[in-house]
């Protein structure tokens, strides 16, 4: 232990400069990553509180705590915060920023000042978004026209916020793409890149390619509200369905911007805790890029019942099914990696495995929704709500937590309480499934989403869901509390507690300011674990 303690007294990126401004003005990707993490989880807690308010209102039928309009505002706030401020910047902005240069053996991202500018834009966007939240925004986070043309002030403010946040996302993606192309250490060939980096690469392509689409779409909506240009307003000959097409052309790929890095994290964790080389490295790479590619072609499945030709329906249904192939490749490869491995069930591995379990449910219920006949029944019901919460929360958030537990000693040089981490994982897992499994049943029974009230026969399942949502909230409080405590007061960790072989662990924990004292030379790929090691 004494060796570890002295290691922590050494100069590192956390203690090399002090003061609030040294953080805000920092161009160090590690500090920027941590600042993203702190701000995002702050917003996550706010969005979570709105979620609990929504669930509390739905505890019993009739008005429970708020009236119908306040309810609409609540679920809109929950959606806007969780989507735009938390889960879309999500893993790339936090762990991606922190780890990408470390994993490819670089001293920083290629444009450090642009990186800092991205974070400032994110803060600015967040501020504008919170400003909009006080203006009775009740359109839902999707801003569908023509309803979003009625509450102009709030919609203009909220979409401006999303526009700014989109810019931040584009710049992060651009930075990552150029960094991966131009900053790899000697010997870090494309075929040796860690899989997390590959998923960040695929994500960055989507960020760069798809985000401008939502940017201009939101700009058109702003102009529609401010100047009445008529493109989305049916009373002026415009087409609200066009808004849905343009909106989902980005907002479907964004699901993969969200989920791909989580898959990357799982791909890093599984080999380390199975002490085996990753199975099918190339297949996992192709699957990442394949998912990114296919994701750009499937937006139409959000409009199956909105009015579309039958041919377009068949086509979008078919293309949506295709996503299952690369996704299944990933799941099978993780399972094959574990086969005959020496598996240890530390908390990162628990999270990674629950990711696989929950994402499997998300994916298979996605097939139900991609199927035309069942979609007609499930469309805009709680089945959809449950499905995308399994994707975004069960997938991306659990993936993020897996990564945060795995790289925690790297980030802070300290260790969290492992048994408490396992216990809070259990609370979270039970809470999450208890909240959303009943919602699949509710959806099948015909409970529509976004509704303030429901007939008494839905009350039982709603009550179960609400009770477990508080368990879920408690789980998050425990997880975040444990990590927050450990970041300041945790025991000092050894520099590589999980005995990972990848590059980011081959420097000090926490890393020094410029990551590596000397740029490393890479002679082998990352995943050469012996099965019996």
């Amino acid at each position: 232990m004494s060796e570890a303690e002295t290691a922590n007294d050494k100069l590192n990126y956390l203690n090399c400069e002090k003061g609030f401004l040294s953080w805000l003005m920092s161009i160090d990707h590690k500090r920027i990553g941590l600042m993203y993490m702190a701000s995002m989880f702050l917003f996550f807690v706010v969005g979570g509180i709105f979620a609990l308010a929504v669930r509390t209102e739905l505890f019993s039928h009739g008005e429970t705590i708020v009236n119908a309009q306040a309810y609409n505002i609540l679920f809109t706030l929950h959606g806007v915060i969780m989507i735009f401020l938390f889960i879309v910047p999500g893993i790339p902005a936090t762990l991606g920023n922190f780890l990408l240069p470390l994993m490819i053996g670089a001293k920083d991202v290629v444009f450090p000042k642009l990186n800092r500018f991205s974070y400032w834009l994110y803060l600015l966007g967040a501020m504008v978004a919170f400003f909009a939240l006080f203006m009775k925004l009740d359109t839902g986070w999707t801003f569908y026209a023509p309803y979003s043309l009625e509450n102009s002030r709030a919609v203009i403010t909220a979409t401006s916020a999303a526009f700014i946040l989109g810019f931040s996302s584009i710049l992060t993606g651009l930075n990552f793409l150029v960094t991966i192309h131009k900053m790899r250490a000697p010997g870090m060939q494309w075929g040796r890149l860690p899989l997390f980096v590959w998923t960040l690469y695929a994500t960055a392509i989507l960020q760069v390619a798809a985000t401008p689409i939502i940017g201009i779409t939101l700009l058109l909506l702003i102009l529609e509200n401010a100047l009445n240009i008529g493109v989305f307003d049916p009373s002026k000959g415009g087409d609200p369905l066009l808004f849905e097409h343009l909106f989902w052309f980005y907002s479907h790929p964004v699901v993969y911007i969200i989920i791909l890095p989580a898959m990357g994290i799982v791909s890093e964790i599984v080999p380390v805790f199975s002490r085996k080389p990753i199975f099918g490295y190339k297949a996992l790479v192709y699957a990442s890029v394949g998912i990114a590619g296919i994701s750009l072609l499937v937006w139409g499945h959000h409009l199956f019942v909105a009015g579309m030709s039958n041919f377009a329906r068949y086509l979008f249904s078919f293309l949506t099914f295709l996503v299952a192939i690369p996704t299944a490749v990933k799941v099978f490869n993780w399972v094959a990696t574990m086969y005959k491995g020496s598996i240890s069930w530390d908390s990162p591995m628990l999270y990674a495995m629950s990711f696989v379990f929950l994402f499997l449910i998300a994916g298979t219920t996605g097939i139900h929704l991609a199927t035309l006949a069942t979609n007609a029944h499930y469309h805009d019901t709680y089945f959809v709500v449950a499905h995308f919460h399994y994707t975004l929360q069960g997938g991306a958030v659990v993936g993020l937590l897996a990564g945060m537990h795995f790289w925690f000693p790297k980030m802070f040089g300290r260790m969290f309480n492992e048994s408490f981490a396992k216990f809070s994982w259990l609370v979270l897992f039970i809470g999450f499934n208890g909240t959303f499994l009943p919602q699949f049943v509710l959806g099948m029974q015909g409970m529509p989403r976004r509704y303030f009230d429901y007939p008494p026969e839905f009350e039982g399942l709603h009550r179960i869901s609400t009770i477990f949502s508080f368990v879920n909230g408690l789980g998050y409080a425990m997880v975040l509390g444990n990590l927050l405590y450990a970041a300041f007061k945790g025991k000092f960790a050894t520099s590589n507690p999980y005995l990972s072989k990848s590059l980011e662990w081959q420097t000090d924990s926490p890393p020094i300011k410029d990551n590596f004292a000397e740029i490393p030379r890479v002679t082998d790929w990352t995943y050469s674990y012996g099965a019996t090691q």
Partner: protein, 206 residues
């Protein structure tokens, strides 16, 4: 900005070789240009959708636009791109004075373009034609307006480059800002080359 960076030319950082920085900046700009193209691509799609839907009206409204002014603007922007090329070439040779002169000409062209645009807008407004008149004008003002914003952004960048050239910052080994800004300026030019026939010419001249 830390003191160690102040001694370096802009765009260079402690962690990166100048050669690497040059290639990275160019690559980054190309990626950024892709995002700009995607941005305008949506507007072209939207225009196509409504032109298809309201063909007769779109042709009638297109005839109210002044193709001569649009054509003049095309010539102005193409000329500005030529000046930009000369500016990049001067910077690459380390001729800061020449570079500044060519940048001045480029900036002036941007100004002329905006003046002509303002004159066109004013004519439309004086006939009570605005963004809310109908979808055609809504899109006309959106597309040319957004393009105009890009011209202004480009001019701001050129103004910054001017000050760098005035301080003799460019040399045969360092000219990255002029080159990547040039790429951006050409893109703004190219987008106009698509906007002009789409708005003014197709169906516009009878």
């Amino acid at each position: 900005m830390s003191s160690s960076e102040a001694s370096l030319a802009p765009g260079e950082y402690h962690h990166i070789e100048p050669e690497q920085a040059y290639h990275a900046a160019k690559f980054g700009m190309w990626i950024f240009l892709i995002t700009e193209i995607h941005l305008f691509a949506v507007l072209f799609c939207v225009f196509a959708v409504y032109r298809f839907k309201y063909l007769a009206e779109f042709e009638r409204h297109a005839q109210t636009l002044d193709w001569k002014l649009g054509g003049l603007n095309t010539i102005v922007l193409l000329t500005s791109s030529y000046f930009m090329v000369r500016a990049v070439d001067s910077a690459q040779r380390g001729l800061n004075g020449n570079c500044k002169t060519w940048l001045n000409f480029t900036f002036l062209c941007g100004l002329i373009f905006l003046a002509i645009k303002a004159f066109e807008y004013d004519t439309k407004f004086s006939h009570y034609l605005g963004p809310s008149t109908n979808i055609f004008y809504g899109l006309y003002f959106t597309m040319t307006g957004l393009h105009g914003v890009h011209v202004i952004a480009g001019m701001a960048v050129i103004w910054w480059l001017r000050s760098l050239a005035a301080n003799n910052r460019f040399s045969t080994t360092y000219y990255t800002p002029v080159e990547v800004s040039g790429l951006y300026w050409h893109l703004v030019d190219i987008i106009w080359i698509y906007l002009f026939p789409l708005l003014y010419l197709i169906g516009g001249i009878k």
